[in-house]
Structures are given as C-alpha cells and as structure tokens.
C-alpha cells in the first residue's frame, strides 16, 4: 500500500504535472467565473490534451480544473450577483449583498476558504469511507431518488423571499418549464407546438443564464441608469484573508454540515453541485439562530453554499473510485480519459491500479491547495472587475453569456430562448418574484419525473414508496420540513405584522 501511495505521489509531484495542474487550476477558475461557461466545458476542452499525457497526470490536471471550477463560480456570484456556474446559485444570496454592502473582499475570502475546507473534508471522506458509501448510493432505487427530490423541493420554503405565494408560483413555473421538449423517458415531444425553437426543450443552463444573468444585468442598467460611469461596487476593498480563515473555522458545525451535504449529494449519481449548493444553504438557514439575516449578507450563508458545492467534487469521486460508476458528468469525462489509456475504471480500480487511486487522492488535496493559492494571490485582480465602469462590464458579461449559451449545444435557437427567458426573468424580478425557486423547479423537475415513472414501471404498486425504508424516511423528512417551514413563516408574520405595514399578496 505504501509503495502504491509513493508511486502515486511520485507522479503527482513531478514538476511537469504540477505545472499543468497549476494551469488547469487557473483555467478552471476563469471558466467558472464567466457566466455561461461551465466546469464541464472546461474539462471537455482539457480531455483531448490528456490523451498525450500519462494516465495519472491527465487525471490530476482534470481534477485541478474541476476543483478550481467549483470555486470560480463564486467570483461572479459575489461580485456581479450572477452565478458563474449552476452550482453557485445559492452563493449569490448572501455573497452578493455582502459585496454590495462594501465587503467584497470578505465575501470572496469567505467563499474561497469555505471551498477549500469543503474540498478537503470531502477528500477525507472519500479516502476513509468510499466503499460503504458507494454501495449505499448504488442500492438506492428510483423510489429513493423520487423521495429525495420531494424533500429537496421543500427547500423552496427557504427561498421564497417576501411572499410565500409568489415563491410557490415561481417554483411551479420552473417545474412547468422543465416539461417542455422531449420527455425524459421516451423522447416524445411535449408542449413544443412543432416549433424548432422549443423542439429540443429549454436547456437548464440557458434558463439559468437567462433568469439570473440577463435579468441581473438589465436591472444593473435600471438601478444606476443616471450615473453610468459608476463602478458596480464603489468602496475600498479589504481582504482580511487570515482573519476570515479563522472566521470560517470558528463555525465548524456549519462548515462540517454543509460539506457532508455536499459529499452525500455528490455521491449520488445524477444529483450534483447545484442541488448540494441550495440544500446546504437551506439547512444552514434553518438551523441558524438568526434565519432572518440570511439573504442580507450573512457569512454563514456564504460558507454553507460554497462548502456545499465544493464538497461534491470529492463526493462525486466516491462511486467512481469505489465502484467505477461516475457520480456526475465530469466524472464520466474523467473515466473516458482513463479509458483511452486502456485503464478501465471499475470495482477493482483500487486493487488493480492502487497507485492511480492514491494518486487521485493526492491530486485532490494538491488541487485544493493550488486553488487556494491561486485565488488568494489573484483576488485583487478579480476585484478589479468591480472597478470597471458598468457601461463596459455589463455588455462584456452579456456577450460572455451569449457565447456560453451557444457553445453549450451549438444551437442558434438557444440564443432566442436566452433572450426570451432573460426578459421573462427580468419581468418576474421586477414584480418581486423570487427567481431561485424557479431554477430549483427546472433542476428537480426532470429528475422527479424520470424517477417517478421509473419507479411505477418497476413496480406498479405505489405503496412501495412508503415500504422501502430510506424512501419512507425521506418522505417523512419532506413532510416535517413543510410543517416546520409553515410554522416559522407564520411565526415571522406574527412578529412582523405590528412593525411593518407591508401588504403582501397572500
């Protein structure tokens, strides 16, 4: 075992491997920071380059892109209020208000440290507990997945903003959007009205960019329309890197809980960073003593959302290293890179290619350190973004969004969709509809539908949902979650009513 460990370490710590990894880390961070460009895209672009490398070298470089990518999304989330990747939706909730309040340096530092610790915690779990966790993850059937998604849908309660009714409507719109296009089981067209525009459905990334990026950019223009020369965040910037590290570590419960949510969601094949990001945020808000501070620049919110998404990196590797089953699209690409080298990733990977498995563990830790160094060293550079006058930055980001949306599937119709969805998003935002529940509906809708149909095809008896223990527990958790949310919303309303005259639609 020690031999294999040393062999793996020897390969990872080679000069050229480390150099490539550093480039990969920077590339991952930049790709993720640009709204519309995803980590998956960056890794696909890396794939052909790894054909010429040694297997472990290639995988290490891809892991550095991967880890960097889970952090990069933070940058645009904090500075522009636009999630840089689908996994940083919840990051915008608190990091952006914090930056707007004049603490962009602190918001970035918090997110970077949370990402770092999240990745490290997930790697440790991966090393110690991969085999048993992977076995559980594989045993879960469509019943458990459906129950998990039902539970995840209850997060909407945490995301509703000012009005429960408007939040629920937004969630339903999201679920509705997800039904447009080919159905996930048979590929039959639904609600496409025989138009080329709707035939391929509304791709999730296009909805995400349209809803968050376009609407956010339009409101930038609106808010400061008179003073066009102003930068997005005008104040002086303070980083407090080490102070923030202590701040993150001083809230170990939040950090650990969020990381574990990330690991577990990541280990489930088919779930992913976007769900972990929102779920970790939701759980942090619920267990906080001051839930009303969330959404206004609360440090716990930033830490939870960033630790949650970064921890899915290690979590996703659990089923891959233990069983040879990819936990996410990125893991599938990692496996493809090993496959062209003639290494089949399977249940005997740790036995047959121990040096590779250990090398990947080492590469994960090295990648997270590199991410940390790169981010801390270049934070000042990122913050320059906030100095650029808005008339330059808004069009630039819009162009990036458009390119990213096109690059996803190379379809021109996606760009029309992007424009339409952007306007709808802006309209909803202006009417004070929260956008996060809508996106959550788009993420969860297809997974829920697929697994519900699959469950009923496997076993027409619907009581199976309640007789399988894990499924029953998750459904009970969903019920409790709803009861808890309704109670706390009622309590809040009681507390607020005498103080404010706000007229809510509900």
């Amino acid at each position: 075992m020690l031999d294999a460990f040393l062999a793996g370490a020897h390969q990872v710590f080679a000069f050229d491997t480390l150099t490539y990894m550093l480039i990969g880390s920077v590339a991952g961070i930049i790709a993720a920071a640009i709204p519309g460009f995803t980590v998956t895209m960056a890794i696909i672009l890396t794939l052909p380059l790894t054909f010429a490398m040694e297997p472990l070298q290639g995988v290490s470089v891809m892991l550095s892109v991967y880890v960097g990518g889970y952090t990069g999304g933070l940058i645009s989330a904090a500075l522009l209020g636009i999630p840089g990747t689908p996994s940083s939706v919840a990051t915008t909730f608190d990091a952006f208000p914090m930056a707007r309040k004049g603490e962009p340096g602190r918001a970035l530092s918090l997110g970077i440290w949370a990402s770092f610790f999240g990745t490290v915690i997930s790697t440790i779990v991966l090393i110690v507990a991969a085999p048993p966790l992977a076995l559980i993850a594989v045993k879960l059937g469509p019943w458990e997945y459906f129950a998990l998604i039902v539970f995840a849908l209850t997060i909407v309660a945490s995301l509703v903003g000012n009005s429960l009714i408007r939040g629920l409507i937004a969630g339903v719109i999201g679920l509705g959007i997800a039904t447009i296009g080919p159905d996930p089981m048979m590929g039959k067209s639904r609600l496409t009205f025989d138009t080329d525009l709707l035939m391929p459905g509304l791709p999730f990334l296009v909805v995400l960019i349209g809803i968050f990026a376009i609407s956010q950019l339009l409101s930038e223009v609106e808010i400061h329309g008179k003073k066009t020369n102003q930068a997005l965040i005008p104040d002086v910037i303070d980083f407090k890197t080490w102070k923030v590290m202590r701040e993150v570590l001083m809230a170990p419960v939040n950090l650990f809980r969020s990381s574990m949510i990330g690991v577990l969601i990541g280990a489930l094949p088919g779930a992913g960073g976007s769900i972990a990001n929102l779920l970790a945020y939701d759980q942090a808000k619920r267990s906080s003593k001051n839930p009303e501070k969330f959404g206004e620049g609360c440090a716990d919110g930033v830490v939870a959302s960033e630790a949650g998404n970064s921890a899915t990196a290690g979590g996703g590797l659990i089923p891959m290293i233990a069983l040879g089953i990819p936990g996410s699209a990125v893991d599938a690409i990692l496996m493809a890179s090993l496959m062209v080298h003639g290494i089949s990733v399977g249940p005997r990977l740790i036995m047959d290619h121990a040096d590779l498995a250990y090398g990947m563990f080492i590469a994960m830790i090295v990648s997270s350190l590199m991410m940390l160094v790169v981010c801390v060293a270049s934070m000042r550079l990122f913050l320059r973004v906030t100095d650029i006058p808005k008339q330059f930055i808004v069009p630039t980001v819009i162009i990036c969004c458009v390119i990213g949306a096109f690059a996803l599937n190379n379809r021109v119709t996606d760009l029309y969709l992007l424009g339409i969805i952007g306007l709808v998003g802006y309209g909803l935002k202006s009417l004070d509809y929260p956008l996060a529940p809508l996106v959550l509906g788009v993420i969860l809708g297809p997974i829920a539908e697929t697994n519900l149909r699959r469950a009923l095809m496997s076993d027409p008896d619907w009581t199976t949902f309640f007789t399988r223990p894990i499924s029953a527990i998750l459904l009970a958790a969903a019920l409790l979650s709803v009861i808890f949310s309704v109670r706390s919303i009622l309590k809040m309303r009681k507390k607020n009513r005498p103080a404010t005259d706000e007229q809510d639609g509900d």
Partner: protein, 314 residues
Amino acid sequence: MFRKIAVAAGLMAAAFAAPAQAQSYPEKPIEFIVPWGPGGGSDTLMRIVAQGLTEETGQAVPVINMPGVGGNVGLAEFAKRPADGYTISQIHEGLLVSNQTGITELNWDSFIPVALVASSPQYLTLSKNDNFSNFEELVAYAKAHPGAVRAGVTLGGIPHVHIAMIEEAMGLQFSYVGYTDTGERIRALMGGNIDIAIGDISSAKQFVDNGDLIYAAVGTEERTDDAPDVPTLKELGMDAELVITRGVVLPKGTPQETVDALEAHIEKVMQREDVIKLMKNAGADPVFYGQEKYSAYLDKLNATIAKLVGKLEG
C-alpha cells in the same frame, strides 16, 4: 511538402475544371457535426476519427457537438448544410429507431452513408440474482413468470429493440423500465433495481470480471476476443445481431467524387495503428465498410426494426 504541392495543384486545377476538385478535397477544414453530447460513446469515437482525419488530410477537423432529441437536432441542422463535403456528420442505429417510432422524419437514406467505422458488440447482461445466472435459466424463468423479469432499456431506443428481438425470438415477455444511458442501466443492474439490460465492454466488463454482473450472451456472429467465454446468441439458437455501429455520412447531393475521396481518406484512417488502438481502448471494434456495404447493412437493419416497431411504443 508533396501535400502542399498537391493542394496548390488542386487549387489551380479547380479553377479550370470542376471534376478535378475532388482530387484536392479537402482543401479547407471540415466541420464534423456529432449530433450527441460530449463524453458519450459517439463523441469519444468520432473524436478519434476526427483526429485521424486531420493527420491523414492535413486539414483541421473540428468536432462540433449538437445534441438533442436523440441526435435529431444535430442531423436536422446537418441536412441544411451545403453538400460540398466540408460538413460531415455521424449516425448510428438510434436514428433508424427514432424514424420508425415517429420521433423524426429523417432516416439513414436522408443522407449518403460514406463509411461505417466502429462497431460495438452488445451483450445481454444479467444482475446477480437468485432466479437465473445464464441465458437458458433466464429463458426458463421468464417463460414460467411472464412479465416478472425487469429489463432496463432506453424506451424507444436501440437497447429496447435489442431486448425486443430476444423477447420475440424466445417467445418471452419482460417488463420494461426506462433508463436513458448505458451507465445508468449498469448502475441499476448493480443495485438490483432491474434484472437484465444490454451492456457493452466499456460499461460492464469490469463488473463482470469482478463477479458483480453476468454476460449471458453476445450479439455478434462469432465470440469476441474481449469475452471469449460468452456464447453468441446464434449458438443459443437465436438468429439476431446485436451491435451498435457508427458511421460517417454526407448530405444528399454531395458530388460523387467528393464522397469517394472522403471514403478513401476514412479507409486510410481506419488502417492507422493509433486509431485502431484508441478505438479498442474505448470499447469498440474498428471496422471499415465502404459506401455500398454500409448502405446494405442499414437497409437490412431498417427492415428488422420496422418489424419490431409495434413492440416499442407505449
């Protein structure tokens, strides 16, 4: 050096006479529309072919992924491109099935099949269970318990056709559960959420070697080198071929010289040792069928699928 001269000569000749154009083909980059998402079987294999074509012709062959609606979005776009040989694309059995089930109007004969390049043998794969552990036992159990065996398939896709072929030949009745890709199906087999599925070497061999899954039969003419102990369906008394093949196509109306030139280039690509090795590693058999043989293959397959289409709906 010689290539440069040839290109220059070709350019000059092209100015005078159109037929000579084919000899210089390609004289600029060729766009390769892969109508599937990145990272999948088609994408990996076609990137290998594209790489080989680049080295063979000296022209860049950028792969452009246009996924959506079972390959239909990319192929619909491809059909609109000029038929000059500078946009090529790829099809597999799934297109024929989508056509028969009414998902798309396009079929294999909407394009010019140029060359079949990769063939992936498909294996009937069983989960570890108490009721059957080989083909004969599966048939006996399924006969005794109609509808009890759960088969994981892509509904209305090629794995569905493959299972339906076995069902029909053996007079069985399975119940179908929809899974969209092979990875998902293998995962469900491992977790015991389904009983049988179609798998291939790249997705399932490791699990078979480890004793987690069982290859019950392979759908090729002869036993494969990868799994020599697995009987063919033919040996088991069933006349059916279960393979997924991938080939390069051009739009209708492309000049015959260009088609021939591309065919010749691909034939050379498929003789390259690096291409052969990469494809084998990716779990497919590198093969080469030229225009005629490829068309004949697709025609025959189309008839088989048309016969089974009733089983695929609903």
